[in-house]
């Protein structure tokens, strides 16, 4: 047993707080937008230059001038604002966005993150990921715990080129949740996914961690 994509997103949604400005990455993090708790005000930022992202448009109402960072058509809300990409990354680098939730290829026990390139394969580019992890005070990574072949993606040290060094605060995988001290204070296991045992988790995790369930 393990968490599915929706369950991982639901766990990530528990990191939201009333009044937060939040940036959501592509993939599972995008699902968090549909899981904002009732009564909580959360403003979503799109790093191409928008605060206050609305839902996808109804068919026929799409507007080529209104897209999110994943290049999907979206809509605006009454409180929406638009700005340049320089202002947008000023918000990000300046620490004004409180929470970034994004995907990963590898995370290590020092809080390093790799999610932008695999040597020898075509590099698409890092987009805004390096700025987000360097500038946002709280960074949550949501990713599968293992490679398709079964190898751990939560490592002692990332082997892929880094997106950021010492940048991850919380790692949510399909098997567990880990708190990481990005200043080098180690890793705590705080939750196991439904039906996952500690022994099963240890068997497929390279990073070392203390147990604080």
């Amino acid at each position: 047993m393990a968490w599915n994509r929706d369950q991982m997103a639901a766990r990530a949604a528990k990191e939201l707080r009333d009044g937060y400005y939040v940036n959501l990455g592509i993939g599972i993090p995008t699902l968090v937008a549909n899981m904002i708790p009732e009564g909580m005000t959360v403003t979503l930022q799109s790093e191409n230059g928008m605060l206050g992202m609305g839902p996808f448009p109804f068919e026929g109402e799409e507007d080529a001038d209104l897209i999110n960072a994943g290049k999907q058509t979206i809509t605006e809300l009454p409180q929406t604002s638009y700005f340049s990409s320089a202002d947008s990354f000023g918000m990000i680098r300046g620490g004004h966005i409180q929470l970034s939730i994004l995907g990963g290829m590898q995370v290590d026990e020092k809080g390093d993150l790799a999610n932008w390139m695999v040597p020898g394969k075509m590099i698409k580019g890092m987009g805004g990921a390096m700025d987000l992890v360097a500038g946002v005070p709280r960074v949550v990574v949501v990713m599968d715990h293992r490679e398709k072949g079964g190898d751990s993606k939560f490592l002692k040290e990332c082997t892929l080129p880094l997106t950021g060094k010492g940048v991850v605060d919380l790692l949510i995988t399909d098997l567990a949740v880990f708190e990481i001290d990005r200043r080098g204070g180690g890793v705590k296991l705080t939750e196991l996914a439904d039906g996952v045992t500690l022994d099963e988790l240890r068997a497929c995790t390279e990073a070392s961690f203390t147990v604080a369930l």
């Binding site: 799409e62 080529a64 001038d65 290049k71 990409s85 947008s88 580019g125 390096m130 950021g164």
Partner: protein, 245 residues
């Protein structure tokens, strides 16, 4: 007629393009790209271009047209996916790509246009992006130190931007997220050419709502038409219509 207004994209580019020049082009994905000026850049035949922008178009659209016409030597961008020609020419070494974090790219262009030769950012410290660059520590408000990477400002021989409306003086207003990289790119060109959907008389745009002041725009055209291709059309179902009986 204003001295800045040209009849079409080809005449706006006439006499100012040359081989080996650096061109900046606005847009995020295909949103807010100067689509008519890009076609004119292709038709100019200028070669060995260095192209700076967030992306390099995508298959069959935008700056891809210039790429497919073998005019590009080097690219500075943050994301170049969905572009098969670029992929094959990068992997074969025919084209050089300098990957920049998106915020670093935006700030390098902003800095270049504002006369700032370099700045320090935390972005990319400890990654490949920082290799070969000066790094140094600066204090945080709490007295702890963080490492920063020095990045340099960028300027261009020609900047191509797309806005929604302009007045005849070149004051620009952008629309929604089509603004993206356009305002900074407008400031960083030795010659900046803007294309817009509508040109109005001075006084018809609210001076409080100008995004790019006309000082940054040397040449201006009204685009004859806009395709505004959407890369990822994403919609949701309409709620079921209420029966009226």
């Amino acid at each position: 007629m204003s001295r800045k207004i040209y009849p079409d994209a080809a005449s706006a580019l006439a006499g100012i393009t040359f081989d080996g020049m650096t061109v900046m082009s606005g847009g995020f994905g295909l949103s807010g790209i100067p689509e008519n000026l890009i076609v004119a850049l292709r038709d100019s035949g200028a070669k060995n271009l260095t192209v700076i922008g967030n992306n390099v178009g995508c298959d069959h659209h935008g700056m891809w047209l210039v790429l497919a016409n073998n005019q590009i030597k080097k690219v500075l961008a943050s994301y170049v996916g969905e572009n098969k020609i670029l992929e094959s020419r990068y992997m074969s070494g025919e084209i050089e790509i300098e990957f920049n974090p998106q915020g670093t790219l935006a700030e390098r262009i902003r800095a270049g246009g504002a006369g700032i030769p370099a700045f320090y950012t935390r972005t990319g410290y400890g990654t490949r992006v920082a290799e070969g660059k000066e790094t140094r520590q600066f204090p945080n408000p709490d007295g702890t130190l963080d490492w920063y990477v020095m990045e340099t400002g960028l300027v261009a021989d020609i900047s191509l931007v797309k806005a929604w409306k302009a007045d005849t003086e070149g004051n620009l207003v952008y629309r929604k997220t089509a603004r993206n990289f356009n305002p900074m790119i407008a400031t960083a060109g030795r010659i900046t050419i803007a294309e817009v959907e509508e040109i109005v008389q001075p006084g018809e745009l609210d001076p409080n709502q100008i995004h790019t002041p006309g000082i940054f725009v040397q040449r201006l055209i009204k685009g004859p038409s806009y395709v505004k291709h959407i890369e990822r059309l994403t919609t949701r179902p309409r709620p079921a219509a209420q029966e009226n009986n």
